[in-house]
Amino acid sequence: MDEPLKIALRKQGIFTTTLQELYNWGRKNSLWPLNFGLACCAIEMIATTMARYDMARFGAEVFRPSPRQADLMIVAGTVTKKMAPQVIRLYNQMPEPKYVISMGACAISGGPFKQGYNVLKGIDRYIPVDIYIPGCPPRPEALIDALMALQKKIDEQHLTGADRPRHLNLDTPSEFPVPQFGAHDLEPSQNPEIWHPPLVHISLAGKDESGNN
């Protein structure tokens, strides 16, 4: 059925839908986040659920303390190397379909604390992330904006076909290996199947030759 006909019918009081639309509509409006705060951004996440910003308007106010009941992980704050295995374990414990929002600079790349010896340079080294919100910390509105972006993403997913989401494709993994504590660093220090940074051409910069720095 094409879109104009659907709208015309809706005006007449007749709702038509497909299974896919109904399925996506249900999923996107009942995202249950994991009650999981790491650092500064967690306070802004709490502020988002409070009266002023009221995340309940998006059906995402039911913060679940248990990963088994949650389908959205908002990584809000610095992921340290000591915490990273636990974060990944929590992610593995969440049932599919599951989504990850990487909230704030630290969760994306380590942020300002990037050069610290105990700071993981981005949670996407170990688990796939759907939406990134830059900011330190992002405003509550920014989190709502990210939530809407995620809802849009869910809405556009197809139930069948090659581009169907991960939870409908049995060949793709839904659990990821948990790194081990090593003598100097986490082992391995990233999951090469997930983390594909582009190569930065350092020679292009030429900083050290020009002596500008």
Binding site: K82, Q115, Y117, N118, K121, F181, P197, V200, K207
Partner: protein
């Protein structure tokens, strides 16, 4: 509250302890007292219990790393040159022995004075990095001494529960030491310069890209 008088009082009541006043050149004028490790607990007890001092509140405990460094000093040496004794200036380079330091900031809740700064030094940075724990005197040192053990590697003898506090137990390094080498995770450094640029370059070369 004069540091000199406190020093002589300690010397009078704790027999055989060596104390040294470390001056502080900054406008804060918080001079400190270096106590030899062997008598540190007795000195701490005295500071806590002496009726007019009553430093009952140990606020801040921290470590400082002073690695060994090269000191070049000019010395006048008498030498016989061409049969005549002459004074010749020579620069002699010596390697100063590095050490680790624990600094305690004491206040008095009862008398409302302070800070009194106490320093303890280890003999070296490696095998003899031991100090007596002051946790039996002030409980507030418990977590802070564990932190120093974790990050600097000073072993506090007599500490009730000395193990790593911030890093995981399998970790081997002492990251707050100045010669600590960070793990190589410089895969993506789009805005690198200075030190980070060097490390990112090393990483790329190491990986073979």
């Amino acid at each position: 509250m004069n540091l000199e008088t406190i020093k002589s009082e300690i010397e009078a009541s704790v027999s055989g302890c060596r104390l040294e006043i470390i001056p502080n050149a900054s406008p804060s004028e918080q001079h400190s007292l270096l106590v030899d490790a062997a008598r540190a607990v007795a000195v701490a007890r005295f500071l806590r219990d002496a009726a007019h001092l009553r430093f009952d509140f140990c606020s801040n405990v921290t470590g400082v790393d002073w690695p060994s460094k090269e000191i070049s000093e000019k010395i006048k040496v008498k030498k016989i040159l061409d049969g005549v004794e002459q004074e010749v200036e020579e620069t002699r380079k010596t390697q100063s022995l590095g050490y680790l330091e624990a600094v305690y900031h004491l206040y008095s809740v009862e008398k409302k004075h302070g800070p009194f700064v106490l320093r303890l030094r280890t003999e070296d940075r490696e095998n003899r990095a031991h100090l007596p724990s002051l946790t039996p005197v002030w409980r507030s040192a418990e977590f802070q001494e564990r932190e120093i053990f974790d990050l600097f590697g000073i072993h506090f003898d007599g500490h009730p529960d000395l193990r790593r506090i911030l890093m995981w137990d399998e970790f081997e390094d002492h990251p707050m030491r100045r010669d600590y080498v960070e793990p190589n995770d410089y895969e993506y450094e789009p805005t690198a310069h200075d030190e980070v640029l060097q490390k990112a370059k090393q990483h790329q070369n190491g990986v073979g890209c």
